[in-house]
Every structure is written in C-alpha cells, then in structure tokens.
C-alpha cells in the first residue's frame, strides 16, 4: 500500500508495535464517511446506552478513542463495528454530538477496505466518480461480451432450432423469437454467471481470510480449540438468515415489552424489511446463478416453486429498496440520517436490477416483440453484473458476508476465552476479581 511509508512516522506510545499511533487514520476514516468523532470526551454514555454491546467489552466508546488516537492495529482486529446495527441511541444521547453511530458505520466501511488487499474498495469508498467509472467499465465489458456472443440485433443463437427457418421468419417479421433462441441460458451461465461467481467468491473468500487473520489469528490472548469452529457454525447460519441482533436494537431494560407489542408498534419494521430484502436477494442470487434455466424460460406456466421464489423475491426487492430509499430520503431515524454514495448506489442498482428483471419476465410472458426482450435483457445484465462485481467484494454488499462472520468469530473468541478461564486455576480467578474490585 502506498500509505505504508507514511504510517512508519507514527509514534510508539508504549513500546509495543501493536499500539503504534497512525497519524493518517483519522483522515483515512473521515475520507470514507465524515463523522465528528474527534469531539468525543469519553464519558461512556454511548457504551452504556447501547442495547447491543456486551457488558465485558462494550462499544462504541473504545472505538471512539482508538479512532481519535489512530490506534490502527487495535481497530483492525476489532469485530465490534460489525456487531453494531446502528440503532442510533448512542448518537441521540451523545452529550458532545460526536455521533458514535456514524463512526461505527464509517468503521465498517474502513474495515472493508482493510480486509480488501487489492485496494479497490478504498478507492470506491473514497470517490464517487471512481465508483461510477468502475460500474461503467464492467457494464462496457458486459456489452462487448454480449455483442460478441449474441450480436447487437435480435437473431437466433440457438443451435437446436434450424438456422434457415429462423432466418426466414426473421425476414418475414412476424415470427417471434423466444428468449432462449436469442440468448441461450447455458451461454449466460458459461460466459457470465460462472466466471463471475468464481472471481467474486475467490476475492471475497480471500478478504474473509484476511479478516480472520486480523481479528482471530492475530489475537494472542485467545487460542481457539479446533472443535469450536464446527460447534459454533450454527451461529453463522442462524445469524445470516435471521439477523436477530437487529431486533435487539429495540431492547430496553427500563421498559419490558413483549415481542408482539414491539411488533405491533412497528419497532421491528426496519429489521423485518431488511430480512425480507436480504432473503429475496439471496434467493434470487442463488436461483439465477445456479438454476437460471428455471427462470429464463419461455414457458408461461413455470414450476410452482419457481413462481413462489420469483414472486417472493421480486416483491422483497422492490418493496425493500423503496422502503430503505424512503427512510434515507426522510432521514427521520438515526440509522438513515447519513447516506454515503455507496449506500445510494447499492439501493438504486438493486432496485433497477429487480425492476428490469421483472419487466423482462413480463415481456417474455406476454409475448412482446423479441427485440424488446433482447435489448432489455442486455440492459438487465449491464446493471446486475456491474452491481455484483463491484458491490459484492468491494463495497456495501460485503456486509452480507462480514456481519454474520463477525458474529461467528466473536462467538468463537468468547467461547474460547471462557474455556481458557475455566481451565485456569481458581487462584488466578480470585486475583482477577480482586483486580476488578480495584478498578472500581
């Protein structure tokens, strides 16, 4: 990285390489999400009011001071930003208006750039223009690939049907080409979906490994027994699908309300919409990449589960994106008050993907002219592929992976340290308790 030479100028506050102050850190964080965290005077209101942070290792006060002091290594190994779901109570009650919630959001972006060894995400987060150019480049590549594979006017590319008859009917002008004649699904699979999924998975997995190294392996205090990786796996899966921590943003010690009361008061709307949007996204992603043949069909009466899948996901994506766009526009709740350009890019691209996808399906079902289908399919791909290529590894989308994985890693570390404590002698525990008393 180019900033390495500058990093070396940092001062070493206690002779430990782990605590080198990084002078550029404040600037680096502010570059990708300006927040007034320098105002913080360390009163601890944020940590105490946070319904999500743990009693033993609360956030976000410690993140505030680590950011102020440029303690880059501490922040790089910190999983807590991913455990925050931005309920905004910290920002609401902050006596300095230092907006800890906004810093945690910026730190999530910053951590994405830390895990990303290519440096691309840093560029995309820093510059709006860079992101648009990146999206455009991928779109152009899709366009060229399409032109080479299927041409720029609708004609049959299918090998199954006889060439001559299709040519003849095209000349006649009345015969409608089916989508699979013009754009065979297997070609989309081999030339678009599969290469993309391989590249994206490779990138994302390498980033996740990087995250694992920085947050788990480099933490010398905890040694994780091998068995735990499997026994804690349920945490990963469970949290991925339920995002249950989101609901805990509404937990208040003072007012004990039942789940259903909160539900009826609309307190869970944000969480549930988010789950709806995420599951829709995941369903369609898996569906389109793995089972494209089911979706890209000329048959009006597709298999029942495909319809169910399709409808659930279409409604989820359209409703979800409009809901979050509305929240970001009205800015009434803390977590929607500040919108980074990557937040908007994600919502808009997702909406456009869903919209063009639904239109495409409608064109096919209602037998609209084949040229409409042909061009709309091209446009659809020129939106969805850039979105996936740019957003999945390098930008906002990556939180879909990092969040549940961070919960998984945090659970591993917590369980492991508890096991370590249990193994340690009773005498050690006593002295630790005495030390804790002294701290009070």
């Amino acid at each position: 990285m180019s900033s390495n030479s500058q990093n070396a100028k940092g001062i070493n506050i206690n002779g430990n390489d782990n605590d080198i102050n990084n002078f550029n850190l404040v600037k680096n964080i502010k570059d990708i999400g300006d927040s007034p965290f320098k105002k913080c005077f360390q009163c601890g209101t944020c940590s105490a009011i946070c319904p999500l942070s743990s009693d033993d290792k609360p956030f976000p006060r410690k993140e505030m001071i680590w950011s102020q002091w440029g303690l880059k290594n501490k922040l790089e190994g910190d999983l807590d930003p991913w455990l925050c779901y931005y309920c905004g109570k910290c920002s609401e009650f902050c006596p300095r208006k230092a907006d800890p919630g906004q810093l945690m959001m910026s730190l999530r972006r910053w951590l994405t750039t830390v895990y990303d060894w290519t440096g691309i995400s840093r560029l995309l987060y820093k510059s709006k223009i860079a992101e648009y150019i990146a999206l455009l480049i991928v779109a152009v590549i899709v366009f060229i690939e399409w032109a080479v594979l299927f041409g720029l006017t609708p004609h049959s590319n299918a090998n199954i049907s006889g060439n001559a008859s299709v040519m003849g009917s095209a000349g006649g002008g009345n015969k409608i080409l089916t989508i699979n004649q013009m754009v065979p699904a297997y070609k989309i699979d081999y030339f678009f979906d599969y290469p993309m999924i391989v590249i994206l998975s490779a990138l994302l997995l390498s980033f996740i490994f990087n995250m694992f190294k920085k947050t788990v392996l480099s933490d010398k205090n905890v040694k994780i027994p091998f068995k735990l990786y499997f026994t804690e796996l349920w945490a990963l899966i469970f949290n991925f699908f339920t995002q249950i921590r989101f609901s805990k943003c509404e937990d208040e010690e003072a007012q004990k309300e039942t789940f259903f009361k909160k539900l009826s008061e609309g307190k869970y709307n944000f969480w549930l919409t988010h789950v709806f949007l995420m599951t829709s996204y995941v369903a369609l992603f898996i569906g389109i990449v793995v089972f494209l043949k089911w979706f890209q069909t000329d048959d009006k009466y597709v298999l029942f589960h495909t319809i169910l899948f399709d409808y659930y996901a279409s409604i989820g994506l359209i409703f979800g994106t409009i809901y979050f766009a509305y929240k970001r526009l009205t800015k009434k709740i803390e977590r929607s008050k500040f919108s980074h350009h990557t937040d908007w890019a994600f919502i808009v691209l997702l909406f456009m993907t869903a919209f063009t996808g639904i239109m495409l399906r409608a064109f096919v079902v209602y037998k609209d002219p084949s040229s409409w289908v042909f061009y709309l399919y091209l446009i659809h791909l020129m939106i969805v592929i850039p979105m996936l290529v740019i957003e999945v590894p390098f930008s906002k989308w990556s939180h879909l992976a990092y969040r549940p994985i961070a919960i998984y890693f945090a659970a591993l570390k917590e369980k492991a340290s508890k096991l370590n404590e249990a193994e340690a002698g009773a005498g050690v525990a006593d002295s630790a308790a005495a030390a804790a008393d002294d701290n009070l």
């Binding site: 209101t45 940590s47 105490a48 009693d55 006596p95 208006k97 003072a254 804790a436 009070l440």
Partner: protein, 466 residues
C-alpha cells in the same frame, strides 16, 4: 452637580450577589442603591443551601453577616423592593432630564437617536460626560403586599388558614399554609399570602386572627417608576429542568432527586427536618448515587460546565457520610472538576472509604418497582466494563441555568451570550453583571464578581462626571 441629584444604582436580584454588590457600593461611596427582588425575601438560592463548600458552614451564617451590614447602613441608602419585577427599562434622554448640561456636539440639540447610543457603546471608553448614557427610567411592578411591617411572625394567622400550597422553597417536597413564611432567615421578616391559593373575601380568617393589624387582604399591586444611573444585573440562576434528561428518570421515579433538593432534605429546616429520607417511602437513604453532569456539558441540554456541581456533590457526599456512618456514596463522573485549592476538598471527600468514584456517565436509570430502588447503567471506563449499580436514592447534579428576567428594554442593550449569561460588555451603558447572571460560579466567586461590579459602577459614575 450635587450629590443630592445623583441617581441611585439599580440592582436586579436580591440574592447573595445582589446584596454583596449593594453593600460594596454603599460602603465604598455615598451612592444609594435600589435592589429589586422577585421573591418575597432576599438571600436567594443561598438560603436554600444546607451548607457551603469548602468549609461546610451553614449557609445562613454568611447571610446573617450581610444582613447585619445592611441594617447598619445609612437609613434609606439601600432600598429593597421584594415581590417585585422590572417591567421596562428605558434610557433617559439627555435633554429631557435637564440635570446635565450638554457639553458636546453630540448632545447639543440632539434628540439622541438609537444610532447615537450605538456609537457610544462601540466607542469603548467611559467618555467624559458626552459618551455615556444619561441614566435609566425603570418601571417596577410590585405584587400586592398583604402583610405590612407590623407582622411579628407570631404565626397565629397560619394556624387558622384552611388552604395549603406547595412549598416552593423546599422544591415542592412538602406543603405549607397559604399564609406562610418562606424560611427562618426571611428578610423582610414577615408572612406572605399566596394569592393563587388564598380564598380572600370568602375566608379572611387570618385577618381576624392577627393581633397586630398586620394583614390587609385588599392590598393592590403597585406599578411605579424609579430612575437609576447604572444597573447591576444579579438575576441569578435556576436548576436545570432535570425532567428534560429523559434517560435519567427524574419526575418518573420518586427516588431520583436533584442536588438542590438534596440540600433541602439535609437542611434542619427542610421538609424532613434534616434527615436524608428518600421520597418514595421515607426510609433513610443509605446507598446514594450521585450522577454528575446531569444536563451540563451536554450539547442536548446545557453545553457549558456549570462549575459548581462537582464540588456540590462532594459536599453532599461528605455530609451524607457524616450524618449516617452506615451510608455509602458513589459518584459517577466524567471528570471531577475541583480547580485550584478545591483539590483539597476532593481529597477530603475521596479519602473516605465508603465514598466511591466511578468514571463514566450514567446513561440510563430504571426502577425496581417493588423496592423503589434504582438501577444505574454506566460504563466504568477505567475497567472498560458495563456496570449496573443499585442505589437507594439518586442525586442528579443538575446544572445552573441563568435567569433571564423578561424586561422590555427597547434600545437599551443587554449583551447576553448564547447561553444566556450577561458579560460585562456594556461598560459604556453602565450595565454590569455579577454572580451566576455573569457565569456559572460558586458563592465565593459570586461575591468577588459583585465586588468587581461595584467597582465598575463607581468608575462609571466617576468617569461620567468627568
């Protein structure tokens, strides 16, 4: 110009600062002063305190000394208007009073527009008679004085009074009769009638009970004008409305009180006779938590430090521990601010083994409904862990908010800052500030500010005569 013609100095507020300024001015010069006080007694917030820090002597002690100084002053040189508020302050025009002869181009044949006044203010010197304002006409509204000076505070009237009022002197923690005396040190030393509660003509029991002909329930409000040469604003403060700090539960949970209420609970003449009993069940409060910066240093409430709350809580912690050796005190703080020599006071409080300090502001308070105990949530920053602390009673260190009397001032400028404090930016217009009207301060610093304001008044007067 003869001294007989000299106008008095107006002092807004008869609290400790106002009284001090009045005494300093009259003792150092031949001037006379008029003190306008909104309460029916003078002495202000100091009388509501149990003890002063750092010496922990009773608050009425210092007040009594000042009272003796007042009584030994020349007859009529210090005039108090209690139960009074100022309606309007206007500038006296140069050619209307006829007391001073215009000696410059500015005042000659000039009707003195507001623009001319602004120029004077900006010229930043005391001037030589032409640069300064001529004086102020002040309209005062005094509430009906139902009790005259015949009152001997025998208390016969209160015995027959059927109506009750909330005792605002004790921050409404108890009630008293509609005819009442505010406190044991009250000066003027007489009873008062709460016009909002009294039934007047349909009752009049007190009038017949009074053996000194001291009660006249037909008294009317009076509005009158006075003239003043200069003004000292010592309008004091009020505690921040702790109910606005929604996460701390004041007003919602009975056992969450403010620091000023704690003073009344501890005071021998307070609602509990000096025993620190918690409001919910009258049990002695043993395990008391003090929550610092309740409102102060908080951009959502008061952005400034109120300067005295740390010392006040330390003081309260000390007397809590002295009153009951079984008690314990826990102080939640951001930083303990005990500047200069007050550090010793901090050392005194913290040397006590049952006084704990927790660095971390309390973010949440909730109640155990059965016991009435309170749970305080905070991050103990020194250990980096969240704690849930159980306490019998919580004392919020509510900040100081400057009073800002609603006075029609027209083109007379009072230079308030963004937080409502009045700095001495008004030298040329002869408007000075003292006490908490100027900045958050303890009694000691308030008295110093009053001495400073008194000197400014005399300098202003001297320069004016040139």
């Amino acid at each position: 110009m003869s001294k007989l013609n000299e106008r008095p100095v107006l002092i807004i507020g008869g609290g400790f600062s106002g009284i001090s300024a009045a005494l300093e001015i009259t003792e150092a010069s031949s001037k006379s002063v008029i003190v306008v006080e909104k309460n029916p007694y003078i002495g202000g917030r100091v009388l509501q305190m149990y003890k002063y820090f750092p010496k922990l002597c009773p608050s009425f002690c210092g007040f009594e000394i000042n009272l003796r100084r007042i009584k030994s002053a020349d007859e009529g040189r210090i005039k108090f208007y209690v139960s009074s508020e100022i309606e309007e302050i206007t500038e006296i025009q140069k050619n209307s009073g006829g007391r001073e002869i215009g000696n410059s181009a500015v005042s000659a044949g000039n009707t003195v527009s507001s623009a001319a006044v602004d120029v004077n203010v900006n010229s930043n010197n005391y001037g030589n008679g032409s640069g300064c304002v001529n004086g102020y006409k002040v309209k005062i509204r005094q509430k009906p004085q139902y009790i005259n000076d015949n009152c001997t505070i025998c208390g016969e009237c209160a015995k027959v009074c059927p109506e009750n009022r909330l005792n605002d002197f004790n921050y409404s923690m108890d009630t008293q009769k509609a005819i009442y005396i505010t406190n044991i040190s009250a000066y003027p030393s007489k009873y008062n009638v709460d016009a909002e509660v009294c039934k007047f003509d349909s009752c009049k029991k007190c009038e017949s009970a009074c053996g000194y002909n001291a009660i006249n329930l037909n008294a009317k409000e009076e509005i009158f004008d006075i003239e003043a040469e200069s003004i000292v604003v010592a309008s004091g403060w009020k505690p921040y409305d702790a109910g606005k700090i929604t996460n701390l539960g004041f007003g919602k949970y009975k056992n969450v009180i403010t620091n000023v209420m704690m003073e009344r609970l501890a005071a021998d003449n307070g609602p509990t006779g000096g025993k620190i009993l918690r409001p919910s069940d009258g049990k002695e409060a043993k395990n008391v938590a003090f929550v610092q910066c309740a409102g102060s240093r908080n951009e959502n409430h008061l952005p400034y430090c109120s300067a005295i709350c740390c010392l006040a809580s330390l003081k309260q912690s000390i007397y809590l521990r002295e009153k009951n050796p079984e008690s314990s005190s826990t102080i939640f703080y951001i930083d303990i601010r005990t500047p200069g020599r007050y550090e010793k006071f901090y050392n005194r409080a913290s040397s006590d083994e049952k006084t704990k300090f927790i660095k971390g502001i309390v973010a949440n308070i909730f109640e155990d409904e059965i016991s009435g105990d309170l749970f305080l949530e905070a991050e103990d920053i020194l250990s980096g862990k969240k704690i849930k602390f159980r306490a019998d009673m919580v004392v919020l260190a509510a900040g100081m908010v400057p009073n800002r009397p609603s006075i029609k001032t027209g083109n007379v400028k009072f230079g308030y800052d963004a937080n409502g404090f009045l700095f001495n930016q008004n030298e040329n217009s002869g408007i000075f500030s003292a006490g908490v009207a100027k900045n958050p301060a303890d009694v000691y610093s308030s008295v110093q500010a009053s001495t400073g304001a008194a000197l400014s008044v005399l300098q202003f007067s001297a320069n004016k005569r040139g």
